[in-house]
Symmetry: C2
Subunit: 225 residues, 2 copies
DNA sequence: CGGTATCCCCGTCGATACTG
DNA sequence: CAGTATCGACGGGGATACCG
């Protein structure tokens, strides 16, 4: 960037750091609980690893992130100053979900959707043992059509190939509708009633499934009239 | 920019618009009450007019700003969606004032300081008629050393040349200290007691002067321990 | 006052490959 | 897993001049 604004205004000073491409999305990921390098990458698929590396260094220099290496285990952790960026991220998301209505087809990344969903599972609501949910997006390109989330008592994994375990429930929907439900643009119940999302499997599980997934934190933001 | 993040996340969608250089500072200016093109420029001295023009068009296209031309009078006004960016600007400023401690000498722009101060005058606290306050920054370059604010009942003007009217009070300080007081990093009383800011003039006015200026909205943000 | 037009430099970012 | 290395294109944006 031109790098500096040459202003003493706190907003300007904050933006000198935060207006660079990707920076605030990295903070979002950290706020969401990601800590490892490749974990961050999964939440930022279009970002090159070198750029992520560079940004993490910048954030560390700025005192927003601390790099903690214990042996070969490396973790990026928000400092107290970094944690206070949470309100910034929340304000941006709240604004975004209200005022950026239109999502392009390019924005509908199933990998990202599943990655988001898997880390917001309400494990207490899911039956014990191992539960496999299959997602099917008939309108997506062949390679991105089928996904599985394998849920256990305290973990969840995303697969883009059949993990082999028996599937408890299958969710079938257009990618767009599924994203809209996740974001809270549209409700589960409407989408189910209209048949735009189909859930198949034993009735008890079918009914329970919407409770397994805690939706995006922005889903509950009221929308403009 | 690479322009898009290709994510449906509301934070990402918001940043697609707002992470471009200068954009959020324009919003800050609009939130602060500026409406005319050259008024905006005064709050963004280092921004080229062409870029400002371009950004305003982008903001208009995004539905954040409305361009209202009545005859030859042109005003840029925040739409309802734009007004809801206020919490974003406030969150950024609140974070910035807490965690970006160090201001470079380059950040200490007296023109910007006076511009900020003049639009935050508590006219009810200032004596009636015309009151002229002179600011003197001995450490600033010759051309930026002396400034005058001419305050009337419902207006205030900044001059960088002596407007000729009798001066009611003169404030003398280092630019840095004055900025720190304005931002709330340092209190009026400390700066006055230590002599780092000197106010000269009739005692009643000298005492009253700190009340004439409402400090930055971020001045009251509590600082980290 | 309210902008456009132009010009060119330099840094950013993206893509990809590769290493310990 | 956790990054570095390299490379090239592109375009953002800074400066300045100018117009109605």
């Amino acid at each position: 960037m031109g790098s500096g604004y040459y202003q003493f205004c706190p907003v300007a000073k904050a933006m000198e750091l935060l207006d660079e491409r990707w920076t605030l999305l990295i903070v979002r990921e950290l706020v969401s609980g990601s800590q490892q390098f490749n974990e961050l990458r999964r939440g930022l698929p279009r970002m090159s690893p070198s750029l992520l590396s560079k940004r993490l260094q910048q954030l560390a220099r700025a005192g927003i992130v601390e790099r903690r290496a214990e042996g070969s285990d490396v973790r990026y952790v928000l400092t107290p100053g970094g944690q206070e960026l949470r309100p910034v991220v929340e304000a941006l998301g709240t604004w975004g979900v209200r005022w950026i209505g239109e999502l392009g087809d390019e924005d509908l990344d199933p990998k990202l959707l599943l990655w988001d969903m898997h880390r917001n599972i309400d494990h207490a609501a899911v039956p014990g043992g191992r539960t496999v949910v299959r997602f099917s997006f008939p309108d997506a390109p062949a390679k991105a059509r089928d996904w599985w989330i394998v849920i256990t008592a305290d973990d969840a994994d995303v697969c883009d190939v059949d993990p082999g375990h028996p599937v408890a429930v299958t969710v079938s929907a257009s990618l767009r509708r599924m994203v809209e439900v996740w974001r809270g643009d549209s409700g589960w119940s409407n989408a189910l009633r209209s048949g735009e999302i189909e859930v198949s499997g034993p009735e008890a599980l079918r009914r329970a499934l919407p409770l397994w997934f805690t939706l995006s934190v922005f889903a509950s933001v009221p929308r403009p009239a």
